[in-house]
């Protein structure tokens, strides 16, 4: 079974520029998550999709971050404009979980390491 695919693997941009990350979840996984992981911290949920609907985006800084999951499969996360504090690893995960429970493992991609200069 192919894992969660993410690209790019690394990205370096200057503050105030924009950047986009792409995620392809495991086939058949209804739920997709985007996490931000700052160095030395645990992953922090930014947004959760079930199929192509948003379940939770309460921690997404909506003035600069946006995400979509068209057709309930691939997803993109965008930052515009980027700030220095956005330097982090952005992880995508997918799961077979449906409904409002976290009763299935989350499978993570390798992430995109973003550096803001």
């Amino acid at each position: 079974e192919a894992g969660v695919a993410q690209s790019p693997r690394y990205k370096i941009i200057e503050k105030r520029q924009s950047v986009a990350f792409w995620c392809n979840p495991i086939s058949g996984h209804a739920t997709l998550y985007w996490y931000q992981q700052i160095l030395g911290q645990g992953p922090k949920l930014l947004i959760q999709f079930q199929n192509n609907g948003v379940v939770d985006d309460s921690q997404l800084p909506k003035d600069r971050f946006s995400a979509e999951r068209l057709k309930g499969v691939d997803s993109t996360l965008k930052i515009q404009p980027a700030k220095l504090e956005d330097s982090a690893v952005y992880l995508c995960a997918s799961s077979l979980a449906v409904g409002y429970r976290v009763d299935q493992p989350q499978h993570f991609g390798d992430g995109t390491r973003l550096s803001i200069l």
Partner: protein, 115 residues
Amino acid sequence: QQPVQSPQAVILREGEDAVINCSSSKALYSVHWYRQKHGEAPVFLMILLKGGEQKGHEKISASFNEKKQQSSLYLTASQLSYSGTYFCGTELLMNYGGSQGNLIFGKGTKLSVKP
């Protein structure tokens, strides 16, 4: 709401045992454990559902005390491959009896196993 993990770091010799704790100030529906090696994705270890069960995965097992809102991860006869950072993720139990619907991860416990 973020769970507290202890210790923050531990160094072991091969064959030694370790316990990693995860404590929440809120009632929990479940606890998830993941291991992340440097520069890699977190890898799922196990889920513990409310009910106080204990689960095992080879020489790694865990318990969940829902009354104390705590979980412990037990690593016995540690191997070099056990090195990494261990995260617990907690699923909160809401007042109406349902789930918060996502995980809140702790800051992690860094485990180093030396030959």
